[in-house]
Symmetry: C2
Subunit: 190 residues, 2 copies
């Protein structure tokens, strides 16, 4: 056995989610989270840049996943289809998580404005990466930005539905339905 219990970061994340569910985000101090994980507050801030960040693990992984899907989309795909390939990849990944944990996390975030703000920032970070990937495919900057933003909104919406509703659709199916409705509405062009 090592000098310390292993996986301190993961223990902090688990402790935080549990406490946030029990008492709420504001009613939980970083010292309490650390104590529950058998660590000190100072160590919490070595693993996470701030209190909110503890809820957003796995963020970089998802970003690289999306980007890769956009980059690897068939070269004849335009911006819209390329970006949808990215959304699909993310939806498959997110849809493979335990739905109940995703729902817990969503409830905590929904209950707190600061956390919603951070979630938007994460989405924007993804969107920035997707924009860059689209530019490599020859799309002009503003259009790339709009497509990226559209894609992430789509994913976000789908995730909200998937974690709140109790129907049989997979996350991917939900996203596809939303996409088609949107495309039809734009095509009307009136």
């Amino acid at each position: 056995m090592g000098r310390w219990e292993p996986n301190s970061k993961g223990r902090l994340q688990d402790a935080a989610l549990t406490l946030f569910c029990e008492r709420g985000f504001d009613q939980t101090t970083t010292a309490e989270i650390a104590a529950r994980a058998g660590l000190t507050e100072r160590t919490f801030f070595r693993h996470f840049t701030d209190k909110r960040e503890v809820l957003f693990g796995g963020h970089e992984l998802l970003r690289t996943l999306i980007i890769k899907a956009v980059e690897d989309a068939p070269p004849q795909y335009g911006a819209f289809r390329a970006v949808l390939a990215g959304v699909d990849a993310a939806a498959v990944q997110l849809g493979s998580f335990r739905r109940d944990l995703s729902r817990q996390r969503r409830l905590v975030i929904a209950a707190n404005p600061e956390l919603r703000e951070r979630e938007l920032a994460k989405l924007d970070d993804y969107a920035g990466a997707v924009t860059a990937a689209l530019k490599v495919r020859g799309i002009d900057e503003p259009t790339a930005h709009l497509m990226a933003s559209l894609a992430l909104t789509l994913l976000h919406l789908g995730l909200k539905h998937w974690t709140s509703e109790v129907d049989d659709q997979t996350l991917v199916e939900v996203v596809h339905r939303y996409t088609e409705n949107f495309r039809a509405e734009i095509a009307k062009n009136q």
Copy 2:
């Protein structure tokens, strides 16, 4: 003359923008802003819920303006056109501000992640309001959300261009150009 100098809120906003430009957001304390405005820190927090908020005055006004434009769009307009009417209204309003002040503000926000986060939250707030207005027009929730998000991204992009570039286009013109490019790209549908 009244007991206090008038327009304390405005003085705080001016003092904040000046200090943020001089030293940066992080290097300025709320006490310093208050002192420069001839007030105390406690009063700062009576006017603004937090330090960042001092940079986002006029927010409610712009929101009602956008919503009204969406609501007042001709009934035969679909979601896309209705939402573009909202963008136009906002662009006209924002485009009427002094470009140099808008640029100052943009530089401060761009230099600080917390401020960018708050700006995204404001955009999301607008988007939520626009979504509601679209639902009244009979648009289904997810499509309304996507259209609203698209509109606000368009506005945000245009504003970034308008405050950074030095060309002759008005904000409204910039937004229209972006819109057309985007519509064309989606219409390709490949």
